[in-house]
Subunit: 371 residues, 2 copies
C-alpha cells in the first residue's frame, strides 16, 4: 500500500481522503494546527517551515505532495537530494511560488500571457503604466492567493507601500469577457490528461462559481486550452494536478493568468461531475499510477463555493432544510468554524441541462447561506 | 456535528467514511479486531456481545447504527430503554437476525414469499419435502450469510446434523429466472426512497455481479418491487438502508428471498452510479436528515465483486495494469489481506450502454484477478 504524505491540512487534503479510502492508498497529513480540515485523516501537527519536521514526516511515507504551495523550496530541495520522492518537485513548485519566475518560464515556452514586467523602481512602474493605458495589475510575486497580493493601480503612489517587497510583477490589465480554467494532471510517469475547460466566476478575487464545461466554447478554444495546459505541465515538469487560470480576452484570445500545482477550487466539480475527480487523479499521479478518465458524468456540472457569512453560520446547521428542497445537490463541508469570507464548503449539481444545474446549485447554496 | 457510531468494522463501515467526510458527520467505529477494513476511521476495538462495551461506545456518539446485524438484541433493547438512539431499532433488526421471525412478519403483511414452514421435527421436514416436490431449501434462522446456513436438501438425512439448531426454516425451492434486489432507504422521520431495481448474479451463494438497472424489467415489475420494499420498510419499521433480495420466478412473480437492514453488496454500484450512494443515504437516514435523490448518474452501472483468489493477490498489486487498460473503471479495495473467496473489493463501471459497462467492468476485474 502506497503511503502518501500531504503537507498542509486544508480542505484539499481533506478531499483526498475519500479516493484514498477507495483505492487503499494510505494518506498522512502534516497540518499547521490541531483541528484542521484534514484532521479526519491520519494527521500530525508541525511547522512545514522546519526541515527537521518535514524530513521526519517524509520518512513515514513513500511520496510527499501538497495541499498548498508554501513549503520553502530549500527544504524540498534538501529532501530531494536526500532521495525522498516529492511531487510536484521543487523544480516545478518554484514557478507556482514565484509569479515572476512563472512569467519568465512561460515566456521562454512561448505560452500566451498578458504583457508583463519585473518592477524594481518607481521609474519602471511609471514606464509600464504609461505603456499600458495608465491602469495596470501589480502583484507581489510571492504569497498571494484569493485576490491577496493583487492590486489594480493607476499611479505609482498607489504602489508605494509595496516597494519593500520588490521585485514586483506588473501585468497589463487584460480586457476580458470571462475567466476560464483548464484543469489537467500529469503523472510522475509523464502521462497527461485534461478535464473539460471550465468557466470560473470570481467575486472580489475569490472563486464563487464554476460552470463545467465552459458554456459556448468552440472546439478550437477547447483544444487550445488543453494545448496550453499540456505545454505548462510538460514545460514546467509538473506532477499531479495543475490548474491553469486564463482570461478569454475581448478579442478572443486565451492568456494565462495564474497557475496552481495541486487540486484547485476550479476542479471541485469533478468529485461528482467527472469519472475521475481531481483528488483521485492527484493521488494517482503522485503515486505513479495510470490516470483515470476525465470524461464528465453528466452534460453539465455547476459548483458554488460556500463563503462564510458571519461567525455563527457553519452551513451544516441548514443542511436539513437544503437537502429537503434540493435532493440532487451534493453538499461538502470543510469542517471549519464559521468566519466571514472563509471558504467553508461547496455545493455541486450535475445535470443534463446546464441552466437547471446552475439554478439548482444556486438555490441550494442560498438555503445554506441564508437559512 | 452529528456523531454516528457504527458497530462493526467491515467494508460497509469503511465505505461510510467518504460521505461522512463530505457531509461533516463524525463517524466512529466499534470494530471486532485491530486492522479492520474500517481502521481508517476513528476506530476502537471491542466485543459487540458485551453490553458494557457497546454502552460505553454509545455514550460517545449521537446515534448507533451497524455494519452487520449480529449485535445481540438484548443489548440493543437495553440501550434503547436507556434512551440511546439506535437505527435500525432492535424491533426492526430482529427480523433481519431471525429468518423465521422475518417470514412470520412478512406473512402477516401479505408480502410475496416462497412457501415456508417452521421445522422442529424430522416428520415436519418430511411433510414439507413431500408437499414441495422432494427438493427444498433448508435454512438456519440465525447467523447465515453469503450462502452459509443455507442448504438444498432432498431427504431428511441430509439435514440430520442441523436439528441441533432447530427450529429450522424450510422454504420451497423457487423456480426462478433470475435474482433481483430492491434497495431503498427509510429515514428516522419516515421518508422512503428507492433506487432502481437491480439484477444480482450469485455464484456459490455469494454476490458476483450487479447490473443496475435490472435489464428488461417492465414498468409493472419495477413499480411492484418498490411497493414491496416500501411494505417491508414500513411494516418492519426499518430505518436506514434496506435491501430486499428477490427471485423473479419462471411464471413472472417476485418473491422475497432475504432482507438486509444496512448498506448491501447489491447497492455498491450506487457509489458512482447514483446521485446519492447507499452509504450517504444510510448516514442521512439514521441521522434524521432528508434523503437524497436515487436517480442514476448514467444509463447503466455494473458492479463486479473482487473475491480473493489465493493468499497473495490483494488486487491492489494489479491496479497499475488495470487502470492503464480501463480508465473508466472505479476501483475499491477493502484493505483486507488476501484470502481465497474473501470479499476484498469491487469494481464499478457507469456507462451510457449496458453491454459496454458489463464488458468493461468484467475486463477490469479480470486484470485484478489474474494479473
Amino acid at each position: 500500500m502506497v503511503k502518501i504524505g500531504v503537507i498542509g491540512g486544508g480542505q484539499l487534503a481533506r478531499m483526498m481522503v475519500p479516493p484514498a479510502v477507495a483505492l487503499g492508498l494510505e494518506l498522512k497529513v502534516l497540518a499547521e494546527t490541531e483541528g484542521s480540515s484534514a484532521a479526519i485523516a491520519a494527521t500530525q501537527v508541525g511547522d512545514y517551515n522546519k526541515l527537521d519536521v518535514v524530513r521526519e514526516f517524509a520518512k513515514t511515507v513513500d511520496v510527499i505532495t501538497f495541499d498548498h504551495e508554501h513549503v520553502p523550496l530549500v527544504i524540498l530541495e534538501t529532501l530531494v537530494a536526500e532521495g525522498f520522492a516529492v511531487h510536484p518537485s521543487p523544480n516545478a513548485l518554484r514557478f507556482a511560488q514565484n509569479k515572476l519566475e512563472m512569467r519568465r518560464r512561460l515566456g521562454a515556452l512561448n505560452l500566451p500571457m498578458p504583457d508583463w514586467a519585473e518592477i524594481n523602481t518607481r521609474e519602471e512602474l511609471q514606464e509600464f503604466l504609461d505603456a499600458h493605458g495608465g491602469e495596470i495589475i501589480l502583484k507581489t510575486p510571492i504569497g498571494g492567493y484569493d485576490g491577496k497580493g493583487v492590486r489594480v493601480i493607476r499611479n505609482v503612489a498607489e504602489a508605494e507601500d509595496w516597494f519593500v517587497f520588490a521585485p514586483l510583477l506588473a501585468e497589463e490589465k487584460v480586457s476580458f469577457t470571462r475567466e476560464l480554467a483548464q484543469l489537467s494532471a500529469r503523472s510522475s510517469t509523464g502521462e497527461h490528461r485534461a478535464w473539460p475547460l471550465v468557466q470560473t466566476v470570481q467575486l472580489d478575487g475569490v472563486c464563487a462559481e464554476v460552470l463545467a464545461p465552459a458554456p459556448d466554447a468552440n472546439d478550437a478554444t477547447l483544444a487550445y486550452a488543453v494545448e496550453i495546459a499540456r505545454g505548462v505541465a510538460e514545460g514546467l515538469d509538473v506532477t499531479g494536478v495543475l490548474a491553469v487560470e486564463m482570461f478569454e480576452t475581448t478579442d478572443g484570445r486565451l492568456v494565462i493568468n495564474e497557475l496552481a500545482m495541486r487540486p484547485h477550487n476550479s476542479g471541485h466539480f469533478s468529485i461528482e461531475g467527472s469519472v475521475t475527480s481531481q483528488f483521485e487523479q492527484h493521488l494517482r499521479a503522485v503515486a505513479g499510477l495510470p490516470l483515470g478518465s476525465t470524461d464528465m458524468t453528466g452534460e453539465s456540472a455547476v459548483m458554488i463555493n460556500l463563503l462564510g457569512v458571519d461567525d455563527s453560520n457553519d452551513f451544516v446547521v441548514h443542511y436539513a432544510h437544503a437537502m429537503q428542497l434540493h435532493p440532487h445537490a451534493k453538499f461538502h463541508t470543510y469542517g471549519k468554524a464559521a468566519r466571514k469570507g472563509r471558504k467553508m464548503g461547496h455545493v455541486t449539481v450535475v445535470a443534463s441541462e446546464a441552466g437547471w444545474a446552475l439554478a439548482e446549485a444556486r438555490a441550494a447554496a442560498a438555503v445554506l447561506l441564508h437559512g
